[in-house]
Symmetry: D2
Subunit: 350 residues, 4 copies
Amino acid sequence: MVDKIKVSLLGSTGMVGQKMVKLLSKHPYLELVKVSASPSKIGKKYKDSVKWIEPGDIPENVKDLPIVSTNYEDHKDVDIVLSALPNELAESIELELVKNGKIVVSNASPFRMDPDVPLINPEVNWEHLELLKVQQKKKGWKGLLVKNPNCTAAIMSMPIKPLLDIAEKSKILITTLQAVSGAGYNGISFMAIEGNIIPYIKGEEDKIAKELTKLNGKFEGQQIIPARLDTSVTSIRVPTRVGHMGVINIITNEKVNIEEIKQRFRNFKSLPQIKNLSTAPKSPIIVRDEEDRPQPMLDVSAENGMAITVGRIRHENNVLRLIVLGDNLVRGAAGITILTVEVMKELGYI
Amino acid sequence: MVDKIKVSLLGSTGMVGQKMVKLLSKHPYLELVKVSASPSKIGKKYKDSVKWIEPGDIPENVKDLPIVSTNYEDHKDVDIVLSALPNELAESIELELVKNGKIVVSNASPFRMDPDVPLINPEVNWEHLELLKVQQKKKGWKGLLVKNPNCTAAIMSMPIKPLLDIAEKSKILITTLQAVSGAGYNGISFMAIEGNIIPYIKGEEDKIAKELTKLNGKFEGQQIIPARLDTSVTSIRVPTRVGHMGVINIITNEKVNIEEIKQRFRNFKSLPQIKNLSTAPKSPIIVRDEEDRPQPMLDVSAENGMAITVGRIRHENNVLRLIVLGDNLVRGAAGITILTVEVMKELGYI
Amino acid sequence: MVDKIKVSLLGSTGMVGQKMVKLLSKHPYLELVKVSASPSKIGKKYKDSVKWIEPGDIPENVKDLPIVSTNYEDHKDVDIVLSALPNELAESIELELVKNGKIVVSNASPFRMDPDVPLINPEVNWEHLELLKVQQKKKGWKGLLVKNPNCTAAIMSMPIKPLLDIAEKSKILITTLQAVSGAGYNGISFMAIEGNIIPYIKGEEDKIAKELTKLNGKFEGQQIIPARLDTSVTSIRVPTRVGHMGVINIITNEKVNIEEIKQRFRNFKSLPQIKNLSTAPKSPIIVRDEEDRPQPMLDVSAENGMAITVGRIRHENNVLRLIVLGDNLVRGAAGITILTVEVMKELGYI
Amino acid sequence: MVDKIKVSLLGSTGMVGQKMVKLLSKHPYLELVKVSASPSKIGKKYKDSVKWIEPGDIPENVKDLPIVSTNYEDHKDVDIVLSALPNELAESIELELVKNGKIVVSNASPFRMDPDVPLINPEVNWEHLELLKVQQKKKGWKGLLVKNPNCTAAIMSMPIKPLLDIAEKSKILITTLQAVSGAGYNGISFMAIEGNIIPYIKGEEDKIAKELTKLNGKFEGQQIIPARLDTSVTSIRVPTRVGHMGVINIITNEKVNIEEIKQRFRNFKSLPQIKNLSTAPKSPIIVRDEEDRPQPMLDVSAENGMAITVGRIRHENNVLRLIVLGDNLVRGAAGITILTVEVMKELGYI
C-alpha cells in the first residue's frame, strides 16, 4: 500500500479514543496525523494530555503529536475524520466539519437515527453506505457523515442478522449485562458498582431497540426501511471491565433446528470477510458449544475483539435463546469505526 | 416465652449453617442445642471445627458445643432438626431422622418436588403445610419432612404470588443474576468469576421453573395442584457476593395498571405478618420507585434480608417487566427455614 | 438524659456525612437538627439532595430536614457543629463559625497541625483537649475548634500508643493498604482500581507521619510536645471498599515479649472506656491470634467499627511487626468525631 | 534454527502449565511434544483434560496430544523435561526422572535450597548453572536438576541485584502484595478474597527471604555463597488477578543518589540480553517516573510479562524505597523456566 490515508481523530484522549490510537498505530494504510481533545489541552503534546490506560506505551508516532482543536481549519488537510467524541459534544462539531466538506465517521449518538445518515455495522449493513448519495442530495452537505451504532446495538445486531427471518416474526426480549467501560473510564465509581449490580443505564434500552431496526433494515434506493423487530430491552450494569453480554430470547412457535441455527452463525460472512479487509474478523460470529460460554474473561478478545461469541443456543418452550458477547470498546466502538473506513475505501467513498 | 424449643442443626459449619447459627442466637424461643457437621469434626468444639465467616464472633452459647453426628441417636432429644446439608448428602440422612420420628425442616434439594412433601416459602404458601397430614398417611414416616425451596425460587416466587392471575395466562421469561455465595463459600474461585460472568449454573434453571409451579400451587385437600406457569429461566453467575436478582418479563396483552401492580406488592401480607412472627418482615415485598433500584449493595439487607425488593416495574409493548432482588442466604435459605419453623409452631405442628 | 445536645452537620450528604447522620440517628443525647450541603442544594429536603448509600433508609428525623447553608446564621442556635466538609472547602467555613462563637469538631484537614488546635483521637490523647484553653487565649476566637485526624493516622495511632516507649526509640516503617472509600464515594473509578493496585495516595504519607507525632505527643501546659516518632510511610490504594490496613514494622533491638505486647493491647483502656461513653468501644484494640487476621471482610465492623484489630504480632530479626485494621469511615471519621464530642461533654467543654 | 529441541511438560493442565503451553507454542526452537497431567487424565487428549483459561484457543499442535504419565518411560525420548508440578508432588517425580538421566527444569519448590541444585533467575544468576558440574559429582544423578525460584522471589531478586552493594550492608523490609493467581486457579475462593485482604500466605515469607540470599549469592567454584541479605518479609494476598507487587524498604545511612539508582536499573543487562535470547526482555528492569506506577493493570504485561517494573524510587529518612511489580505467571513461573532453558542451550548444557 503506497499511499496512506491521512486520518484525524476527535476525542483522542478518552478510552475509545485511546483504543483507536492503538488500533491505528498498527494499521497498514490509515495514518493518524492529527489528534484533537478538549480545549484546555490544545497545543500540548498528546503524551502530556492523556492519561494513557491501554497496556503498553503510547505509540511512537502519536506521542509527540500536538493536540489540535475540533475546528475545520485544523482538519482540512486530512482525508477522513474519525470521531470518538462524547455524545453531548458531537452534534455541532461533527456538523461543522461535514458542512465544510470533511468525511466524518463517528461513534457518537447524534444523527444515528437520522433517515439520511447511514448507521453502519459493516458485516450487518455495509450496503447502507449507498444512502450517502441520498444524504448529499438531501442535506446539501459538502462532506459525508457516517455513524456507527451504540456499542450494545453493534454487538446484538450481529447474531440477529442471520436470524432475521425468524426474528421479524417474533417478540424479542433482551437482557443486556454491560461492562463498566461502556460508561467511560471515569463513568462509574468503584464504590457504586464493585460487587454490585445497577439495573438501569440511562437511555440505553431505547437506543438499542431502535438502532437494531435500522441496522437490520433494508436500503431501498432512497431510504432505509427498518426491520420489523419487536424488541424489549432491559439493560443492566455489572462489575466487569470490558464486554457486553446479551441474553436474547426470541419467542417463536416456528420449528427451529439448533444445528441449522449454528450453521447460519458459522457461515455468516459479509463484505469485510469477502474482501479480506484489514480489521475484519475471519469469523464475525463464533459459536461456542461449551455449556458455560461465552464468558468475558475468556471470549471478549476473540479475533482481537472484532468477533462476537454466541453460546447456549437452545430452543425450548417456544423460546429460541442465545447468549451473545462482544467487545464494547473494539467491536462496539473503535474497531467498528476503523472497519467502516476500510469498507468505505473498498467501495470508493474515500 | 417460657419454654424454649430445642433445635439441632445439620450442616452447621457451612455458609448457610453459620447464618442459621447467627439468626438462632438471637431468636426469642428457638434454642440451638446440637450442631452437626462432617464426620471428621465429630467431638470437636464448634469453634474449632468452623472457619467462621460471619462478621463478629461465634455466638457464646454455640462456640463450645461439641459437634455431633447426623445419626438419629444424636438428635433424639431435640424438638426439631434444621438442615443446611449439601444436596448430595441430604437424602439419606434426613430420611433416617424423619423415619425415626424427627421433624426435619430442610433447605436441601432432595424431596422438594415429592408430591407428599410440602415445599414452603411461608408468605407464599404456608397453607401447604396441611399436606403434612397426607404425608404421614402416605409415607408412613413417624416424623415430618418439610422442605424450603431453592434460593432463587424462594425469591422469585414472592412477586409472582400477587400477580398469579396475570402470570398464569402469560409466558414468563426470567433472567437471573446470581451471587457467588449461592454456590457455597468455596464454590467458585476468584480467578473464575472476578470481573467475569458465567452464563450457566448447573441444574438451576429447571429447578427454578419447576419449584415456582409448586410454590404457587394450590393445596386441594390431598395434593398440591401446581400453578400453570410457563416459565423459561436463564441463570447467570455474576461477581457479587450476596443477593440474587431476577429480571422478570411477563408477556401479557392484558391491560395492566402499574400503580395497581405496585399496590398489590405493597399490600401483600400473609400469615407471618398477620401473626407477627419473630422472623417475618413487616413488608415482604418492598417496592422501589427509583429508576436504578434494586441494587444488591443497597437493598439486599432490607428487613434483615427477609424482604425482597422490586423495582423498574413497567408495562410496555405487551411485556410486564420487573426487577427483583432478595438475599439468597437469608430469604433464600437460613431465614426462610426459621420462619417456616415459626409458622409450624403457630399452626401447632411443633 | 433529659436535655439533648443540638447538633448541626456540615457536609451532610457525602459518604462520611451520611455515616454521621446514621450514627447520630441512634445517639442517646446528640440530636441532629441542621444539615448543610453545597449551595445548589440549599432549601431542598435532605432526602431530595442526597444519594443515600448507607444500607437501609434515611433516618426518619432527618429525611425531611431542609438543607441549610454553612453560614453562621444558619447554625447559631445549635450547641455544636460537626464538620465532614471536603478538605479544600473547610478552612474558611469552619473559621467563620469558630470566630462567631461556635464549637466546631471537624474531620477536615486544615488546622490539624496548628499548634493551638487539638487533634483528637479520644483513646489516644483526649487530654490534649486542654489545649483549648490555650487556643482561646492565643487565637482570640469566640468559639472552639477541635480536629480529628486523617483516617489512617487515626487507626495507626491506636496501636502505637501502648508501644510508645519502644516506638520512640525505633525506626518505624508502615505500609498502608487503604480502601477506596477513603477517597470518597466518587473518588476513584471502577476502571482505575478494580483488580488493580495504585501505589500512591496524594499527600497521605506525609500527613500520616506528621499527625502520628502530634497524636502521640504530650500536652505540657501550653503546648503539645510531639512524640519522637521516626516514621516512613508508603500508602497504597487497594480494591477494597472499607477498612484501612497497616503493616507496621518497628525496628528495635530491645528484647520484646510478644505475650506482654498482646497484654498491652488488650489492657489498653482510656477515658472513653472508663467513663463508658456511648460510642466508645469496650476494647479499643482487639488482638487476633489467628495467623490470617485481621481481614477487612471479617474484622472491619468490630465493635461497630470503633475498635481496631491487630494481628500477626511478631518479633524476629530485630523487627517488631504487626498488622492493624480499622474502619476508615467510623473509627477514622464519623465515629471518632462523635466520640470526641462525647469526651468534650464529659469534660465540660460542651 | 534447524533442529528443534524436544520438550515435555509435567503439570501441563494447571495455570502455569497452560501458560507454558502457550509460550512454547510460539517458541522458535523448543517444541512441546509430550504433556503430562494427573493419573486420571492419562490417555485423554490434552483438549479434553484441560479447563483452558488462557485467552484464545489451545494451540493447534498441542490440543490433540495424549496425556502421558510422569514416569521416565513416557519421557525418555525428549531432550528436556519442564515441570510445573504442584510442590507437594514434585519431589519424587522429578527425582526419578533426573536419576534416570533427564534434564529437568522445574518451578516446584523441593530442592530449591539444596546446596547442589542451581536456583536460577537468568538475569540475576545464570552463572550458577556451573553448579551443575558439582551436582553431577556429588549427587550421582545421571541427569540434571535445575530449579526456578518462588514467583515472588523471582521478581524481588531482580531489583536487588543491581543494588547488592547497598543491600548487603542494610536491613531490608519487604511487604508483598500478591495476586490471587499465585495460589493457583482454584486456590482462593471469590468469597474469601473479593473486596478483602488476607495478610498471610503460608510459607511464603520464609521462602522469599531465603531464596533471595541464594539467588543473589556468588558461585565460588564448588558452592553458592549466599548473599548477606537481612530481609524481613510480610506477604499479603490482595484481590488482583496477576502481578505480585513488592514495597521494598532498604534501611541505609549511606548517601544514595536516586538518579544513579535509576541508571543502575536502566542499565541492567545480563547474558539473556547480551545473547539476545528468544524469551529475554530487552529491558529486564523498567523504571517508571510517574508517581503512581507501577500498577498491575498497566504494567504487568511489560515486555510480554518478562520485565519487572520499578517505581516510586525515593531515599528519605535513611530509607531507600521502591515499589516493584512483576508478572507472577510469566516472569515468576512459565517465562523464567523457558528463559532458563534458553540459557542452558546457549551455555551448552542441552
